[in-house]
């Protein structure tokens, strides 16, 4: 009797407990429909709301801290078809992952103009945010996290932009997706201050022109930024770090013309900058430090201008693959800084080396022939291989910089060194005295 009573009480308790959830779940679409055009619907964080939801009028959907909208796994969780919608402070999760459907699904699909998506968290979804024919939208301060370790096709992109122009993407954090941000036939967008890591490509432009990429940070992707079949891109003040697979790169410029790559930092990448089939790009004032290959430049590229770039401690600063192209290693009498490996004289003190810098290498031939060579680029044997190459007549001139810039003097942290030496000396003296006693 007592057992039955307890079971009944437990059952009732569970029913009561789940009641608000059911109500919230079934109500979300109705709540949206009940909100007046231009109105604000604030969702509580008490229970998860169940998608999927279609928003077809201008309105604001705002969540308290911890508000979750969970899709039913059959489509997009939120679909925006009207312009002027604002989504703020929501955790959106569980879109469909189906690849047999007519469309690719996302946590948020935007099909209209002038929307604002801000402070969202997106998980467990095929694409994070999908813009389809949607212009003048802003997506900011949003975190998108994928499942990561799947086959490439099994995971969508963090932000997928398709035939959508004049959009702004600012301050987002994207990780473990196929591509962090993918642009397809989408022009004139602004990508600012985003942090993109652990994806296949951090950013991927295809047939997308006049986009601006400023102040972003790419790390631990297979490739940082991939610019393909696009024109007039501006890549400025971005940081590309730790892209280290054999096919990895900080930024890849392929079939991409008339672009500007200026003041970016490339640290610890397999290749900092990979340029192929591209014409007339300006690569100015970038820092390329501790990479295996600074710039891998294929002969199909011509007319690039390299000026005021700073190369330091790269295994090979520049490799020309497939032959020499017609590229320029200085602009307006200013070449590049080649680091401490290339000692230079500047007798007239104008900041420009008195003699041209010429860098020759044998590695280009190996790289042309076999991908596996990238496994050896951090081996100390590579330096000996290059030295031996001088005698075997296989070396080819990779760079001829007529106006190399003098490196600014870098000093050792002398204060710390002195302190260390003094401490060691004092300990040694004390030990000596103890032994003498």
């Amino acid at each position: 009797m007592l057992k039955k009573g307890l079971l009944l009480a437990t059952g009732l308790f569970c029913m009561l407990g789940s009641a608000p959830l059911m109500e919230a779940s079934s109500d979300l679409q109705r709540l949206v429909e009940q909100t007046a055009e231009g109105g604000v619907l604030t969702l509580s964080s008490a229970a998860p709301y169940e998608g999927n939801v279609i928003i077809d009028k201008p309105m604001t959907l705002r969540g308290e801290e911890g508000t979750v909208i969970r899709g039913d796994g059959t489509g997009n969780v939120i679909t925006i078809t009207a312009p002027g919608v604002r989504l703020e402070g929501l955790h959106i999760t569980h879109s469909s992952f189906s690849r047999n459907s007519e469309e690719e699904y996302a946590a948020v699909k935007v099909m209209s103009d002038g929307n604002l998506l801000e402070n969202l968290t997106i998980t467990d979804s095929y694409h994070g945010i999908y813009l389809s024919g949607a212009h003048h939208n802003q997506i900011s301060q949003t975190t998108i996290k994928g499942k990561g370790d799947q086959e490439i096709a099994g995971q969508g992109n963090g932000i997928h932009v398709y035939y959508s122009n004049h959009n702004v993407f600012q301050g987002n954090t994207i990780s473990h997706m196929r591509d962090g941000m993918f642009f397809d036939y989408s022009n004139d967008s602004q990508v600012e201050d985003n942090r993109v890591s652990h994806n296949r490509y951090g950013l991927h432009y295809m047939y997308s022109d006049r986009n601006v990429l400023v102040g972003n940070e790419f790390s631990f992707n297979v490739g940082g930024a991939t610019l393909m079949h696009s024109k007039s891109i501006r890549l400025e003040n971005n940081r590309f770090t730790l892209h280290q697979g054999t096919r990895s790169f900080g930024a890849m410029v392929q079939a991409c013309d008339d672009s500007e790559i200026i003041h970016n930092e490339f640290f610890y990448n397999q290749r900092a900058l990979y340029i192929d089939q591209s014409q007339r790009n300006r690569i100015i004032g970038n820092k390329l430090i501790n990479n295996q290959v600074g710039i891998e430049l294929w002969a199909s590229s011509a007319g690039q201008i390299f000026s005021e770039n700073h190369f330091e401690r790269n295994t090979a600063p520049v490799l020309m693959i497939g032959g020499q192209g017609n590229n320029h290693w200085s602009e307006h009498g200013k070449g590049n800084r080649w680091g401490n490996d290339y000692p230079m004289m500047d007798l007239n003190q104008d900041g420009i080396g008195d003699l041209p810098v010429q860098y020759s290498s044998t590695l280009y031939q190996l790289i042309q022939e076999n991908e596996l060579v990238y496994l050896f680029l951090n081996s100390p044997a590579v330096r000996i291989y290059e030295l031996l190459g001088r005698f075997s007549q296989k070396q080819m001139v990779m760079v001829d910089d007529p106006h190399p810039l003098m490196s600014s003097g870098q000093s050792l942290p002398l204060g710390w060194v002195t302190l260390g030496v003094v401490v060691i000396f004092i300990i040694w003296r004390r030990k000596r005295k103890e032994v003498e006693r």
Binding site: E369, F376, S379, P380
Partner: protein, 265 residues
């Protein structure tokens, strides 16, 4: 236990071990100062990788010398006679001696790395898994090259021979193998990549590098070319374990069979 305590006392009285660790310490601190200019999130990985690159250059040489001279000292000072008074076989003696050297080296390395972990914790975004992978890779490197040193200490006839053999081993594993491979690399293709893989990963430096880089998420193995997939046909941890077992056992057995036993039973 007696062997371990004896080894520790001998090593700590000699200057070799302390000089080695002072050297590692100074270089590590320099790296730490240099890496501070990186962002906090990536600085940790950059520091681990830089530190490991430094370890690969220095640690094998230090382990070779410490291992070989520790054995040589037993032979030279004839302290083995006391140790073998209890009817110890040469195999047993060498096993206990190897174990003692390994424990002392691993203990010292662990102590140093965990001391170094403190500034890492404060300066960078510390990741325990990555640090443990680094610690494992460093210890395995130390074990393999210490055992190599023990082998050379056993087979060498005099001090000069030990110095020469140690330097050659270091040069061979760090330079010669890679240099020869670079010259033959164009001949490697999809058909013979398995054989190449076996030879490539038989070098503990290569196996440990891949283990470390994949463990800390630096080398992605989920988006590789078909050629690379065939090269890395086992999980990197297995390449590392294979190296650990193969080299320590082969070198130990080699030292037992080829070692100059002198008056040992």
């Amino acid at each position: 236990m007696i062997y371990i305590w004896k080894e520790f006392k001998e090593q700590s009285r000699g200057k070799g071990l302390w000089l080695s660790f002072i050297m590692l310490g100074i270089v590590s601190l320099f790296l730490l100062l240099q890496v501070q200019s990186y962002p906090v999130e990536q600085g940790f990985t950059v520091f681990l990788i830089s530190l490991y690159e430094m370890m690969v250059l220095l640690l094998p040489l230090l382990c070779l010398f410490i291992g070989s001279f520790s054995i040589w000292q037993e032979k030279e000072q004839r302290t083995h006679l006391i140790l073998l008074a209890k009817r110890e076989s040469y195999r047993g003696f060498l096993f206990k001696k190897s174990l003692a050297i390994q424990v002392v080296m691993m203990g010292m390395m662990t102590l140093w790395l965990f001391v170094l972990a403190l500034p890492m914790k404060f300066l960078f975004s510390f990741d325990v898994t990555s640090f443990l992978a680094f610690w494992t890779a460093t210890l395995v490197l130390s074990v393999i090259f210490s055992q190599m040193g023990i082998f050379w200490g056993s087979v060498a006839a005099n001090r000069m021979q030990i110095v020469g053999l140690n330097l050659f081993t270091w040069f061979f594993f760090l330079f010669v193998i890679d240099l020869v491979t670079l010259f033959y690399l164009p001949a490697v293709n999809y058909e013979n990549i398995k054989l190449f893989s076996f030879l490539y990963f038989l070098n503990p430096i290569h196996a440990l590098q891949i283990f470390l880089e994949t463990s800390i998420g630096l080398f992605p193995i989920n988006h590789m070319s078909r050629l690379m997939e065939r090269l890395i046909w086992l999980p990197p941890i297995l390449f590392m374990l294979f190296n650990l077992v193969f080299w320590t056992m082969a070198l130990f057995e080699g030292a037992v069979r080829k070692g100059r036993k002198g008056n040992y039973p």
